[in-house]
């Protein structure tokens, strides 16, 4: 399955996030058995992860780029978003959004990772001082909940 991987490398700039989403649609059109709604959910998650990756590079004014891999296999459609930003501690963020807590309404930010976790079947975030990798997997119809 390794040769089923599509790789995309983009400058860490806002205008390229749309391209990262577009590749999800293209992969979904050719290779997988996901309902449109789940493809949309994955696009949203990729958009959030890419936005964070770009902002991480902004923080360091690093000219590094954001690297994405997309793969389709029996399990579903996967995307990995990798940056060389300063990293962060994902465990320090709440696992799920406290949607009932009116206090969160004070925040215009901090919605990205909760959205990713709510929308995507499998989410793995690994982060260090060298950068961050977010691995997303949307499971095929049969295997999904």
């Amino acid at each position: 399955m390794i040769d089923e991987v599509v790789k995309l490398e983009i400058p860490a700039r806002a205008e390229f996030v749309a391209l990262a989403r577009l590749v999800v649609s293209a992969m979904a059109a050719s290779d997988v058995d996901l309902p449109d709604e789940r493809v949309d959910d994955l696009k949203l998650a990729v958009s959030e992860a890419c936005t964070n990756a770009i902002e991480a590079h902004d923080a360091t004014a690093s000219p590094e780029r954001v690297r994405l891999s997309y793969w389709a296999d029996d399990r579903g459609l996967g995307v990995r978003v990798e940056d060389r930003g300063p990293g962060f501690d994902p465990a320090a963020l709440p696992d799920h959004p406290p949607v009932t807590d009116p206090a969160r309404l004070k925040f215009e930010r901090g919605l990205g990772i909760p959205l990713i976790r709510a929308l995507v079947d499998e989410v793995e975030i690994s982060s260090s001082g060298q950068g961050t990798a977010v691995r997303l997997l949307m499971r095929n119809a049969v295997a999904s909940d």
Partner: protein
Amino acid sequence: MDLGLDVSERGKYAVLSVRGEVDVYTAPRFREGLIELVTEGKHQIIVDLEGVDFLDSTGLGVLVGGLKRLRSHDGDLVLVCTQNRILKVFEITGLTKVFSIFDSVDAAAAAGES
């Protein structure tokens, strides 16, 4: 990628109709559009999201920011949205509890008159 913004009037409301994709690239233009209305003294705003194909958390941030700004002027910001994939994002983030969301600009304007 394209973002379209149209402004119109409906009763006491200014209506900002958004078309296209709202993400980290286009959100600044969306924010400017909203701020411009507030600066012009429009404190009752309907944001019509029916033409939006995509909206992520940066778009949500613009809306929450706009709402806070308007409330500080005793104004309000209400939404028009019937698309499930967009509504879903508001639901997951709990923002359906913050925004009044209507099926049409007419319904939003009528609610404001009552």
